[in-house]
């Protein structure tokens, strides 16, 4: 009987990342279980994934889990080398990153702070560099069919660094901090589907139930939002004074604006490839410098890594011997947004005319040295699980001119474009000004320092706003493009009944393939009558000394250090 097979072409049609995972499976770099979880999350049906897993599995089984039922670290190329005995323990890793004032993890506003706390604190879930969210402190989660009830099952036997065991009480306490308006956590808005702590129910010591007021598929991703560190039930409000967590390092020293030092914890719950507890490194040190000083320090070997390098830093460091550059695609972007309640942007023809003036390839080259992924004019990125691939619109200044004339501006239009000067916005603005001149737009630039723009980012008629990475397609759209968000983050005031209906449906659709169908329609609407232009999605880079192995570039610039090891430590 002929053995059933799934072609790589078919897998690529479902999601471009699946053939890569399949290749890793064939090479024995990921387990069948990991492949199936990954492939199904990206939309491959369970049956198809199972067939592919059987076909692709190598002759030799992957390394078995460590003793005691504890899950081994996810396999990567370098981790595979470890199974051959290459992993070395010990060594110090030093990085350049601004060190800010820290108190309550729930109030974290910057990734830099989260990178400190995550070394000794942990999350219930983890969204990996592949943009897939997996259970972490949770053993598993289960969602009801209507996505209104989420059951969270904690792993048993996890200890805080003060010796207490992690239980549902700690999780309930953490939720109560997030949902307490007096704490001032951004988690409060993110978990808007919970009306209060009464919606978080302790079923038993390792089982928590969330009773949502509105369906939401983003719960696992929300639990890895950077302020979502799980706190000890006796936490009093200052994590530097009380650095209690379940993480793999212990905080030895934290001096705001100076340095942070972490030492290895001996009794961490996850096991390394060598069967001993993670982490592999003995010590982590962060030194607080600005970016330029950080680049110079990395070039001269004074530090081993640099937090979130800018494109110019990437240009400076990419060819430096002894450094390894690991790029990763993200959903970070610079959105060209138009306020649809203000002339002339009320007219969809004018909006579309400006969108047509984007020579996306040229803009990406000039603003980001070509290091990104071209985009359509919708706020859904190729890294999102339910992204629906569309053709990249062409640069069409003649078409833009014709549309402007049709809209009543035969002699062209003078507009003011506001933005800030901390990332690549000025470059994008200047590139667009030149490109749009051929399309009939005379763009005056109003570029201010970041605070000058953030003070008015929802008010300017035409602007460029930077949006950060969010792992799920349905996470950003409700923030900025629905009626309810006017007065908050809906900077364009654009609403569309059909769009909103589809979005609500997508928010309640767990099945990736079904959600992709909805996303296809959502993307079409945004392209046809939406309020934004979006030329490209940013790549970001992890740049680290080559002696460090198993380093992962994360799309939100998270430092995931537990499984990193140093050659010749």
């Amino acid at each position: 009987m002929k053995k059933p097979q799934i072609s790589e072409k078919y897998m690529e049609k479902i999601h471009p990342a699946i053939p890569d995972a399949y290749q890793k499976l064939k090479e024995g770099r990921v387990s069948r279980r990991d492949f199936m979880r990954f492939a199904t999350l990206l939309g491959l049906s369970a049956g198809a994934a199972s067939i592919a897993a059987q076909c692709g599995a190598p002759a030799q089984p992957a390394a078995p889990p460590a003793e005691g039922g504890e899950e081994a670290a996810p396999a990567t190329e370098e981790a595979a080398a470890a199974s051959g005995g290459a992993i070395k323990r010990g060594g110090t890793w030093t990085s350049s990153m601004q060190l800010q004032l820290l108190d309550h993890p729930a109030r974290l506003s910057w990734v830099e702070g989260a990178n400190i706390v995550r070394q000794f604190g942990e999350y219930l879930t983890e969204t990996g560099p592949d943009n897939i969210t997996r259970p972490y402190l949770l053993d598993r989660w289960e969602a009801s069919d209507d996505v209104m009830t989420w059951d969270l099952f904690l792993r048993e036997g996890i200890l805080f660094n003060n010796g207490d065991e992690l239980t549902a009480d700690d999780v309930i306490f953490t939720f109560s901090e997030w949902l307490n308006p007096d704490v001032g956590s951004s988690m409060l808005g993110l978990l808007s589907y919970l009306s209060g702590i009464q919606d978080v129910e302790k079923v038993d010591d390792y089982h928590i139930r969330l009773n949502l007021q509105t369906p939401n598929i983003g719960v696992p991703e929300h639990l890895f939002h950077y302020p979502a560190i799980v706190l000890h039930r006796n936490f009093e409000g200052d994590i530097i004074q009380q650095p209690v967590g379940t993480g793999a390092f212990l905080l030895e020293e934290y001096a705001e604006g100076e340095r942070a030092v972490f030492k290895r914890r001996e009794d961490y719950w996850r096991m390394g490839e060598d069967g001993s507890p993670l982490p592999y490194l003995d010590e982590l040190i962060y030194v607080s410098t600005d970016k330029d000083a950080g680049v110079a320090a990395l070039q001269s070997g004074q530090v081993n890594s640099l937090y979130d390098p800018r494109p110019s830093d990437f240009q400076a460091l990419k060819d430096v011997p002894g450094l390894t550059v690991r790029p990763v695609s993200t959903a970070q972007c610079l959105v060209l947004r138009m306020r649809v309640d203000v002339e002339p942007w009320t007219d969809v023809r004018v909006r579309n005319a400006l969108k047509m003036c984007q020579d996306r390839e040229k803009i990406m080259q000039l603003a980001y040295f070509g290091e990104g992924d071209l985009s359509i004019d919708a706020h859904v990125a190729p890294v999102h699980p339910a992204y629906c691939p569309k053709d990249i619109p062409a640069y069409d200044p003649e078409g833009a001119k014709a549309l402007l004339a049709e809209a009543g501006y035969p002699d062209g239009l003078t507009v003011t474009l506001a933005t800030k000067n901390d990332q690549q916005e000025p470059e994008l603005a200047q590139a667009l000004k030149e490109l749009a001149a051929a399309g009939g737009f005379d763009i005056q630039l109003d570029i201010t320092e970041p605070s000058g723009y953030w003070d008015r980012w929802t008010e300017v008629d035409l602007g460029i706003t930077s949006w950060t990475h969010r792992p799920l397609d349905t996470m950003v759209l409700p923030l900025a493009y629905i009626q309810e968000a006017i007065g908050a983050w809906n900077e364009t005031r654009w609403t569309d009944e059909e769009f909103e209906t589809l979005l609500r449906e997508a928010e309640g659709t767990l099945d990736v393939e079904a959600r992709r169908d909805l996303m296809c329609q959502i993307e079409d609407i945004m392209q046809e009558r939406g309020p934004i232009g979006n030329s490209f999605w940013k790549k970001i880079w992890n740049i680290t000394s080559s002696e460090f192995q198993n380093v992962q570039a994360h799309p939100t610039a998270y430092d995931l250090m537990y499984e990193v090891w140093k050659e010749d430590a």
Binding site: L317, Q365, E434, T448, E449, G452
Partner: protein, 309 residues
């Protein structure tokens, strides 16, 4: 009593022509080697700026080339991070400093650059306040100088930020910022000169004639203070160029994409590790123009002082 009579038949001495007078005044510059070198440097940039009004090698804002190129035969000074020709941008950058001021109404342009208008503003305001404080003395002096001292006590950058935050960006706002920050220094200088000059006999004579204080200040004192004031103004043009550079570097100067040298340094700074040339050229331009103005002012002061002796 014998009275001298003109010699019969003697030819009356001919008054020197206007050109001769002008040349005589200018020749003071050439008597100082330092002033001559300074003038050559300044004239170099003025001429380059004038040429840029009608011609540049390439359009200064067009991204036509590969980014961050070093100097080469096509782009003599290389290209910047947006693939624009640095030489063309450097030439056009001279305009806004020395040759033209862009008004916010309908793209109107006014002759003479932002740095020079800023210094003219500083000198006018500073001279008015300093003359009044120095000549009138008393509460005029007290109030004016206390106020100016308070302004001087502010860090200059803070004053720039206050003015620009209140009024927004643009050439006129930069002129105002330079005026506000420069006027106290000019006022102090003029006050000290006025305190000295007002003790002279010709001031007493003017007062005895019954001339008004305004006449004494602006017709008797100010012209006699012009030597140090001119030298100070030259130096201030240098400071103003630095100020425009600083504002551009802080991203609150003249709005892009039209180049100004400070902005060019600021934008190129982000890529300094991969393209040093884009930082070097505008920095050299700023430095050479400021040095040129300083040398010019120093030489002029030297020669003027010699004449006074």
């Amino acid at each position: 009593m014998a009275v001298a009579q003109p010699t019969a038949g003697a030819v009356p001495s001919q008054a020197p022509s206007r050109w001769a007078k002008m040349w005589k005044s200018l020749s003071i510059i050439f008597e100082s080697r330092i002033a001559t070198v300074g003038m050559v440097l300044v004239l170099f940039w003025v001429i380059l700026g004038l040429i840029s009004l009608v011609w540049t090698p390439y359009p200064p804002n067009a991204s036509e080339f590969t980014q961050n190129l070093p100097p080469n035969t096509t782009n003599w000074l290389g290209t910047d991070h947006l693939g624009r020709d640095i030489l063309s941008r450097l030439m056009v950058g001279t305009q806004v400093i020395l040759l033209k001021t862009r008004l916010p109404w309908g793209g109107l342009v006014f002759p003479i650059g932002v740095a020079i208008w800023g210094v003219i503003g500083s000198v006018l305001v500073g001279a008015f306040l300093g003359l009044n404080a120095g000549y009138r003395g008393g509460w005029w002096d007290q109030v004016t100088m206390q106020f100016l001292d308070a302004l001087i006590a502010f860090p200059v950058i803070v004053l720039y930020l206050v003015v620009i935050a209140a009024l927004g960006q643009g050439d006129l706002v930069v002129i105002l910022a330079i005026t506000v920050t420069g006027a106290p220094g000019v006022a102090r200088l003029v006050r000290s000169l006025a305190l000295d000059i007002k003790t002279r006999d010709y001031i007493r004579a003017a007062e005895t004639r019954g001339e008004s204080p305004w006449y004494v200040m602006f017709v008797e004192i100010l012209p006699n203070a012009r030597g140090p004031l001119i030298v100070d103004s030259m130096l201030r043009v240098g400071y103003a160029i630095f100020a425009i550079g600083t504002l551009g570097f802080l991203g609150i100067g003249l709005p892009p994409p039209d180049p100004d040298w400070g902005n060019m340094v600021n934008e190129a700074r982000k890529n300094i590790f991969s393209n040093q040339w884009a930082v070097v050229w505008p920095s050299v331009a700023i430095a050479s123009l400021v040095i040129g103005l300083n040398l010019f002012a120093d030489g002029l002061r030297e020669e003027l002082t010699r004449y006074q002796k």
